[in-house]
């Protein structure tokens, strides 16, 4: 089922002692599928820990090692798309050091669709989470949404996208692991309803430095990248930088002054990223149109309260009651109904904000 070229690359991907830079060099910058061990021997033998190079080399030529790899992949239901495979996305070839193999679970045809990535901080405020979920669903009507799998923005983007369309989740570790563990179910869902990919063999444990490296795949797959939230130093900004370097569009949610989780987004806008307030700001760039769905009918009470919440921006329920001259127990069912209709979002501490 795999060609010899593919088999060589997959085996090389399994050699965890070699960095991806080393692998690229040995493949003569992906000119060939056969790693040139001899050419780099003198350098690698000195730079790698004692014995690692020889071990890697021996493993590469070990027939049993190979047999085990492919048996393992089959057992786990993993499909590999290598740099030399037909299914490898062209857009990914444009980035620096593209992954030599993508380990995939799910619908690999998504790799060839139009992709758009949504990234953000794990500490995304509840209001932004709701906005992210909404816009992700809207983007998914035309694009495949690409994102990670962390809590906060990634989770919101993934859930929003899967509810309306397709999504690719890029992991920074092997499929044998689930990190963060609370998202284990979501990972399974992403694999069943969309696609999860990783450049690491299934046995690879999550490590902190894999995550920024992984971000180049998210940026590389996508025509554009939307940063929904990012602190001053955030992984989401790395993704945005890579996207900009590869001539992809970068979008960012605007945030209010003084919000830590918004500083990175605002600085992106200052540097020239598109300001994305709603879906039209994004689709406009690609010449796509978007029909806003019919508004759900509201009762008079609901409309009155919704408008009050919109006017206040961030509204404290007892304050709203005072403003509207109503008792708190009269407002609780109404705000609850707006919440169920996805028009307002609960920020905690009985504060609410409208979802635009």
């Amino acid at each position: 089922m795999y060609t010899d070229d593919e088999r060589d690359l997959i085996t090389l991907a399994y050699l965890d002692g070699l960095s991806y830079h080393a692998k690229h060099a040995m493949l003569s910058r992906l000119e060939s599928s056969k790693p040139d061990f001899d050419k780099y021997e003198s350098i690698l033998i000195k730079t790698l820990p004692y014995g690692v190079y020889n071990k890697m080399r021996a493993q590469y030529y070990d027939a049993d090692f190979r047999k085990e790899i492919f048996a393992g992949l089959e057992r786990r239901g993993i499909t590999c798309v290598t740099y030399f495979s037909e299914g490898y996305p062209e857009s990914l070839k444009e980035i620096d050091t593209p992954p030599i193999v993508l380990f995939c679970k799910g619908d690999i045809s998504l790799l060839k669709t139009r992709c758009f990535s949504i990234v953000g901080s794990r500490r995304t405020p509840p209001k932004t989470v709701a906005d992210c979920k909404k816009i992700s669903g809207e983007i998914a009507t035309r694009f495949t949404v690409v994102t990670g799998i962390a809590e906060g923005a990634d989770t919101a983007a993934l859930e929003g996208a899967l509810s309306k369309g397709k999504a690719i989740s890029v992991l920074a570790y092997g499929f044998d692991y689930a990190y963060p563990s609370v998202n284990a179910q979501l990972i399974t869902r992403a694999a069943n309803e969309g696609l999860i990919i990783s450049e690491y063999p299934p046995e690879t444990q999550p490590k902190a430095f894999y995550f920024p490296v992984r971000n180049r795949i998210i940026a590389g797959l996508s025509e554009g990248t939307l940063v929904v939230s990012a602190a001053k130093r955030s992984g989401a900004l790395i993704t945005a930088d890579i996207a900009a370097d590869c001539n992809r569009d970068v979008f960012a949610f605007p945030h209010s002054v003084g919000l830590t989780a918004g500083e990175g987004c605002n600085s992106l806008i200052k540097k020239g990223a598109y300001l994305a307030e709603n879906i039209l700001d994004i689709f406009g760039v690609y010449g796509l149109d978007f029909n806003t769905p019919q508004k759900k009918p509201l009762t008079d009470d609901e409309r009155e309260l919704y408008e009050a919440v919109c006017a206040a921006g961030e509204a404290f329920l007892p304050d709203l009651a005072e403003k509207l001259g109503k008792q708190i127990w009269q407002l609780i069912p109404v705000i609850s109904s707006l919440e169920i209709k996805n028009l307002v979002v609960r920020l905690g501490g009985n504060r609410y904000s409208a979802v635009k």
């Binding site: 794990r122 500490r123 509840p126 989470v129 709701a130 809590e151 906060g152 963060p180 609370v182 830590t260 961030e314 404290f316 329920l317 007892p318 009651a321 708190i328 127990w329 609780i332 069912p333 109404v334 705000i335 609850s336 109904s337 919440e339 169920i340 209709k341 996805n342 979002v345 609960r346 920020l347 905690g348 501490g349 009985n350 504060r351």
Partner: protein, 508 residues
């Protein structure tokens, strides 16, 4: 000569008649006490000897054999001092009065005066049902004994008085019967709803919780008045009836925690610290099985501050009593059932740093940290907490505002009306409040219109509620409808009930 004196042993909250038999023979000087006495009873020898001597009486210099019958149950506590002394005096011929139908209870001091003992009330109630009506008890226990009709209780100060009373040399009036209403009006709560500023949502939730007997979780940043709110819960609960008060007093009496008044007329409010062990919460102990905090909170409120800080096993142990309203503590020595019908009020911070959802402070926790913090409370326990509500951060303006807040008495009236509706509904069922409904009763009493059913379905989809939240929401909606005098559950009630689930579905 042989004498027999009646006293009582306590087994949990049940009294068991005990006969103190003393025989004095010629022979080597000895004092043998048999019949499974514990250390406190064994040590009584020295107290009894000194008390007799210091009451101008003679401690016999003979071979004294005392048996506490029935011989197979353990005798614990210090209240056997008085019956032992009387029995010795009778056996030695120094006291010739009739003592057949009198129950003696009391601890002796060395000078012969009587000290108060624990558990007078449960003993008297059990004794009365077994046909005993005359008691001699320490004077300090008089209040506790003064609420039981049809008894003749003499509360005396010393062994000397007791002897004089029995021989007829001195006369004492029996303890006068007191009215429970009077005691109730004497006592009052130190807290009131009107003292809590703002917190309108939480106050509303508490009203619903008390009206329907639901357990409630208050989540909010530190220092926002969660404890203060919790302390207000007893103030809006209906007044205790005399029967309820007796039940509660029994437990507090056994634990030796009764106040001067001798009866608990206010709803108990117990706040065990989060270092509390499972045994201290549920009851137990090595020698004597004692009531735990959940039983001491019977008919009142058990307040668990900082819920996630309690040990897992302590929290899990609450599940069964929350369901059954009683706890059966089983030890090798036997099993004892204590009542434990309380409203659980728990409080917690929304996240480890405490600022999640705060308008003024930034939360520094990662979603994983928050998840970990919240997962300390198990799903089955959360299932039993019908209302989960967020407490707002307090603003300075709130604290200084002069706006009049509603007093507890007004809320209590509404609660009592809602409870009356529930009493009528559950006639013939063994439950009094909505919170105790099982699936069967929910089907019977909480018919949902198609519109309500639709709202509930939508709520589940958009708010990511777990399936088991369903019956919780319906039960709370039933209570909200009762508070609004509505026969049927209306859409508004369902919507409001669905909003009290902050814990489960806050956006992370």
């Amino acid at each position: 000569m042989l004498s027999k004196i009646k006293s009582f042993a306590l087994n949990g909250l049940e009294g068991v008649p005990v006969e103190v038999e003393t025989d004095i023979n010629k022979g080597m000087v000895a004092y043998d006490l048999v019949g499974l006495p514990d250390t406190a009873v064994k040590e009584s020898k020295e107290r009894v000897r000194s008390a007799i001597k210091n009451s101008a009486l003679q401690f016999p210099v003979n071979k004294i054999t005392i048996n506490l019958a029935p011989a197979d149950i353990k005798k614990e506590g210090s209240h056997y001092d008085l019956p032992l002394a009387i029995s010795i005096l009778k056996a030695s011929g120094q006291l010739a009065a009739e003592t057949d139908n009198i129950i003696f209870l009391g601890e002796l001091a060395l000078d012969g005066s009587l000290r108060p003992v624990a558990g007078i009330l449960p003993v008297m109630i059990s004794a009365k049902t077994k046909g005993y009506t005359r008691f001699i008890i320490p004077a300090a226990n008089a209040n506790e004994a003064s609420y039981i009709e049809g008894t003749e209780v003499y509360a005396l100060n010393s062994l000397r008085d007791t002897v004089d009373f029995l021989t007829g040399e001195k006369r004492f009036a029996p303890v006068a019967l007191k009215s429970f209403r009077a005691a109730q009006s004497r006592q009052s709560y130190n807290y009131d709803m009107s003292l809590v500023r703002g917190q309108k949502v939480a106050k509303r939730a508490i009203e619903i919780a008390v009206a329907g007997g639901h357990n409630i979780l208050l989540a909010g940043p530190p220092g926002t008045g969660k404890t203060m709110l919790a302390r207000c819960i007893p103030t809006i609960m209906p007044d205790m009836t005399f029967e309820e008060a007796l039940e509660v007093t029994k437990i507090h009496s056994v634990s030796g925690e009764l106040s001067e008044d001798g009866i608990v007329s206010l709803r108990p409010f117990r706040t065990p610290h989060h270092t509390a062990t499972t045994v201290s919460l549920c009851g137990g102990g090595t020698n004597k099985i004692r009531a735990g905090e959940i039983s001491k909170a019977h008919k009142g409120v058990l307040f668990l501050d900082e819920l996630p800080e309690y040990t897992r096993s302590a929290l899990e142990s609450l599940r069964q009593p929350l369901e059954d309203k009683v706890i059966t503590v089983t030890r090798a020595g036997g099993a004892i059932t204590f009542p434990a019908d309380f409203i659980l009020c728990a409080s917690m911070n929304p996240c480890p740093c405490g600022n999640y959802g705060s308008a003024y402070l930034t939360c520094t926790c990662t979603p994983a940290q928050i998840q970990r913090y919240r997962s300390k409370i198990s799903g089955p326990l959360l299932d039993r907490i019908d209302l989960q509500v967020e407490v707002d951060g307090v603003k300075y303006d709130d604290l200084v505002s002069t706006e009049r807040e509603e007093p507890s008495a007004a809320v209590k009236e509404r609660v009592e009306r809602a409870r009356a509706i529930q009493r009528e509904r559950f006639q013939g069922e063994d439950m009094k409040v909505n919170a105790n409904m099982g699936e069967k009763q929910i089907k019977k009493y909480c018919q949902l219109s198609p519109e309500c059913e639709g709202i509930l379905r939508n709520a589940f989809q958009t708010l990511h509620l777990s399936a088991r939240a369903r019956s919780r929401i319906i039960k709370v909606a039933r209570t909200i409808a009762d508070l609004a005098f509505s026969e049927n559950i209306l859409p508004g009630h369902i919507l409001e009930a669905a909003s009290y689930r902050s814990y489960e579905a806050s956006a992370i």
